[in-house]
């Protein structure tokens, strides 16, 4: 699992931080593929989910042996749709497309951006039911947001897809939960231990393709990509991978600061997650 910077040896002696993260994610993906069928991976077209597809190709020797799923809000950036079409072919992915119900059908007590984000929860729930999925692989990370830090690698969801934060199963020594009731599924989180900077360093090391919205144009770039209407770019001049990494090494603002729904009220994001949001 060593990077291409040291191809001359072929004999391994140590693992660096990225090697360890990669090995652990590969282990998790292989557990999911072994234990959860039918299984699908969420592909939001963002940097983290591209890393996830890449890790699946590492785990399964160059292929992704289960479908990838894009739950489309219809409001992504055009660059993201182009990217999806190109890499579905290049990576030979079995793509499942899901749609989301209109915003008017969402819980009116949620703030506007959270209501918009809730569409994706509903779209995802429909896909899980349609394909009777036992496992859904999602690219969330602990360092993104407080409630995500509480997640399990294998996170069981009841028939209503609700996340029961107060009653999560113990998870240790790489022994993960499996579904044991009708209608349950497991959210699998292979990137949980990765940090934003790890993702970028891994993208750089492996040469993983990305939508170019992540790179600065006219003094702005996107640090996190959601729907067009609820994602804002940040001030930045980082127009290359090396510059993005350098920027992150010194930044003191959080990654999701450009995501409107995280800031509407203290508990909006937690409410979304309890209801089944990623």
């Amino acid at each position: 699992m060593k990077n291409s910077n040291s191809p001359q040896t072929g004999f391994e002696s140590t693992m660096d931080h990225l090697d360890q993260l990669e090995a652990q994610s590969v282990f998790i993906l292989r557990e999911a593929y072994r234990k959860l069928r039918p299984l699908a991976m969420l592909w939001s077209l963002g940097k983290d989910s591209n890393v996830m597809v890449w890790l699946a190709k590492k785990a399964f020797l160059g292929r992704v042996p289960f479908p990838v799923m894009h739950v489309d809000t219809g409001k992504k950036f055009p660059e993201m749709y182009n990217f999806r079409d190109e890499y579905t072919k290049r990576w030979d992915l079995d793509l499942l497309l899901g749609t989301c119900p209109p915003v008017e059908e969402m819980d009116p007590s949620l703030p506007p951006a959270a209501r918009s984000a809730a569409r994706k929860t509903a779209g995802l729930a429909a896909m899980i039911e349609k394909h009777k999925l036992q496992g859904v692989i999602a690219g969330i990370r602990r360092d993104e947001q407080g409630t995500r830090a509480k997640e399990r690698v294998f996170s069981p969801r009841g028939a209503s897809h609700k996340w029961d934060i107060r009653n999560q199963p113990p998870e240790f020594w790489d022994q993960y939960a499996t579904p044991h009731e009708e209608g349950m599924h497991i959210r699998v989180h292979p990137l949980l231990a990765w940090r934003e900077i790890d993702i970028w360093r891994y993208i750089e090391r492996e040469g993983i393709p990305l939508v170019d919205l992540y790179f600065a144009k006219n003094g702005k770039r996107y640090r996190s990509l959601g729907d067009q209407d609820i994602t804002n770019p940040v001030e930045s001049n980082a127009s290359t991978l090396a510059e993005v990494i350098a920027e992150l090494e010194t930044t003191r603002t959080s990654e999701r600061s450009g995501r409107a729904m995280d800031h509407e009220s203290e508990d909006a994001f937690e409410r979304l997650r309890v209801a089944g949001y990623l």
Binding site: M1, K2, N3, S4, P7, Q8, G10, F11, E12, T14, M15, D16, H17, D19, Q20, E22, A23, Q24, V26, F27, R30, Y33, R34, K57, K58, A59, F60, L61, G62, R63, P65, R142, G146, T147, A149, K150, R152, I165, Q168, P169, P170, E171, F172, W173, Q175, A177, T178, P179, H180, I197, A246, E249, T251, R252, T253, S254, S257, E266, D267, E270
Partner: protein
């Protein structure tokens, strides 16, 4: 900026922070992150805003307790992991909650830690959870423990008082075979001896907490231990077979001969396969690999690959330490799956050697392991298990116990093969000089157990009593054990929890076995809803066990409801009732399947009686010898 670059070359060191509730763990972490410049700008503003809203000055613990419910209750409900950078070295801080019922969350956070900070309120001293957490640190093999004596401002920074607390905590840890690497007197709230040296304790010349953390040794490499590669899965892609797994110990090289599992099949590592990497000739502990084998054998998930000259321990009886996570106690006789790396073995708890008393930290013999208790037990597997005894610094040699609902109910760092210890009570049942054949000859029948399982109201007792009368008239020696009769006497100490139901089945099976050995025909009428409980009964009885499924639809049983139990269960007066809010697992292949929802009871009794007669009949050979 350059600090992150250096840090990425090393793996992060996980540090778990434990301690009694309100001894200041979350405050410590908030303060530590702030004082070492590890907080993002937005976070500090969030904490200040949250604190203000609740009328507090600055509450550092809000940083971690970022869930709404936690803030409102002031309790951390789940473990949290926070990356943390200290002079170029990366750590992951694991915050484990102190509330007693959240032990499972704590173990979730603490299990992989390299070192621990045990926070003790210097004014209060060690409390119940201090002892519990210290024991857990001992069990999961964390050897580097830093004790942070917090809130020393409450002792006016008095050296003598601090020394006394240190002394008492140190004695407590010694009882658990745990040695603290360091004691750091501190005030987390004010930042004394966290990242900066306290000016209020000039007498203290030891390290601050951050200096102490910097001394935590890096994880030892497992690459130089003998190879252990547990098979995770076997893939076949494009006509090529790949054996996938993560190396737990040692290294594997192309060309090595390895031995596979308890079947001990040898094979050569033909290649190490990967995608988008340079070709690999070897791999080390920690790596997830895919290898091809020559010859192309197909191992099972859970098989261990090892080198021929360094085999793991192999045993079917295993002594293990245990931390018990279920809310109901553990009793001897209960069965579980032992998950060990990728392997899964059916095991039964055959004895409980000792249970830890958390009040005085003594180990005492016990009949059961209480909720969230610690013990040493013996597990018996139906097959040989390959393993290495658990040692700190290794990731294998420790398993989890999983119940039928796939819940993890305990953690088991394995000690070794179970041997008879000095002073252990060893039971040698005396052997009878009267043989089975002698009894069969005298009674003219073969002692057999007929195990009638089915829903309440399906007609088990009715059929058993009917068949008993018919068989008795025919001159056979027959007896009935039914559930309600057992529960009024032999089993009256048992309730209806899952563990108690299993125990009820076990006792019924033991009594049935004794009667069978005496040559009797035994009809057992017991709901015995779980497949595994009936398997246990079959195992206890041995030969001459016939499973009979008394089968009626739930709706019909509920309509019959001879004891009014369904009505009581529906109205919530009783809980855990089979068919209503507890599962019934129908037999897969019963020796006899009696449908009782149609037709008369008489014909079912006749069918049962004639089946019993045929089965218990002596064969020609047996009769000839008589």
């Amino acid at each position: 900026m350059s600090k992150s670059v250096t840090a990425s070359q090393d793996a992060a060191t996980p540090i778990v922070i434990v301690g009694h509730v309100d001894h200041g763990k979350s405050t410590l972490i908030g303060r530590l992150l702030h004082d070492t410049d590890n907080l993002q700008d937005g976070k500090v503003a969030q904490i200040i805003e949250s604190s203000k809203k609740r009328g507090l000055k600055i509450e550092w613990s809000f940083l971690l307790d970022s869930l709404q419910i936690e803030r409102d209750q002031g309790v951390t409900v789940d473990s949290t992991r926070i990356p943390f950078l200290l002079n170029g070295r990366e750590f992951v801080i694991v915050d484990a909650p102190g509330h007693r019922q959240f032990l499972r969350n704590m173990i979730t956070g603490a299990a992989d830690a390299e070192a621990a900070v045990l926070v003790v309120d210097a004014a209060e001293g060690a409390r119940e959870q201090t002892r519990r957490h210290a024991m857990l640190l001992h069990l999961i093999g964390i050897r580097h423990v830093i004790v942070l004596l917090n809130k020393v401002d409450l002792l006016d920074f008095d050296q003598e008082q601090v020394r006394q607390v240190e002394q008492s905590v140190s004695e407590l840890l010694a009882k658990l075979d745990l040695e603290a690497a360091l004691f750091v007197p501190a005030s987390a709230r004010d930042g004394d001896n966290i990242a900066a040296r306290s000016e209020r304790m000039p007498w203290y010349d030891g390290p601050t907490l951050t200096e102490a953390l910097a001394q935590v040794p890096s994880p030892a490499s497992r690459a130089n231990l003998p190879l252990r590669l547990p098979v995770q899965d076997v893939y076949r892609f494009n006509d090529k077979r790949y054996v996938a797994g993560r190396i737990e110990r040692g290294r594997v090289r192309v060309g090595d001969t390895v031995i596979i599992g308890t079947q001990k099949t040898p094979a050569r590592i033909a290649s190490i396969e990967s995608w988008h990497t340079a070709p690999q000739l070897s791999a080390i502990a920690g790596q997830s690999v895919a290898v091809t084998l020559e010859p192309d054998v197909i191992p099972d998930r859970g098989d261990l690959l090892h080198l021929p000259d360094a085999a793991p321990v192999e045993a079917s009886r295993i002594r293990t330490r245990l931390f018990w996570l279920r809310q109901e106690p553990l009793r001897v006789g209960e069965s579980f799956k032992l998950r060990l790396a990728t392997a899964e073995h059916a095991v039964t708890v055959t004895s409980i050697e000792s249970v830890l008393n958390l009040d005085d930290l003594t180990e005492q013999p016990g009949e059961e392991v209480p909720a969230e208790g610690f013990a040493e037990i013996t597990l018996s597997a139906s097959e040989n298990v390959q393993f290495d005894p658990f040692a700190p610094g290794t990731a294998d040699g420790r398993g989890v116990l999983v119940d039928r609902q796939q819940r993890i109910v305990g953690g088991a760092p394995l000690i070794g093969p179970a041997e008879i210890a000095v002073g252990e009570k060893v039971i040698h049942p005396s052997a009878s000089t009267v043989t089975v054949q002698d009894r069969e000859r005298q009674k003219g029948q073969r002692g057999t157990v007929f195990w009638l399982t089915g829903l309440s109201g399906a007609g088990k007792s009715t059929l058993a009593r009917g068949a008993e009368a018919a068989l008795f008239s025919a001159g056979l020696d027959v007896t009935v054990l039914d559930g309600d009769t057992l529960r009024t006497g032999l089993c009256k100490d048992l309730g209806f929890s899952e563990a108690d139901r299993t125990e009820n089945v076990r006792r019924a099976a033991e009594v049935a076995r004794i009667l069978r050995d005496a040559g009797q025909i035994v009809l057992v009428a017991l709901i015995s809803p779980l497949q595994s409980d009936r398997a246990l009964a079959r195992q206890i009885v041995g030969d001459g066990f016939e499973e009979i499924f008394v089968d009626a639809d739930l709706s019909i049983c509920e309509k019959r409801d001879p004891k009014g139990l369904y009505a009581a269960a529906r109205s919530g007066k009783i809980s855990g009732f089979t068919g209503i809010d507890a599962p019934y697992e129908a037999p897969q292949s019963p020796a006899l399947h009696l449908k009782t929802d149609a037709g008369s009871a008489d014909s079912a009794v006749k069918t049962l009686a004639s089946f019993v007669k045929d089965t218990a009949k002596l064969t020609g050979a047996a009769r000839a010898s008589s």
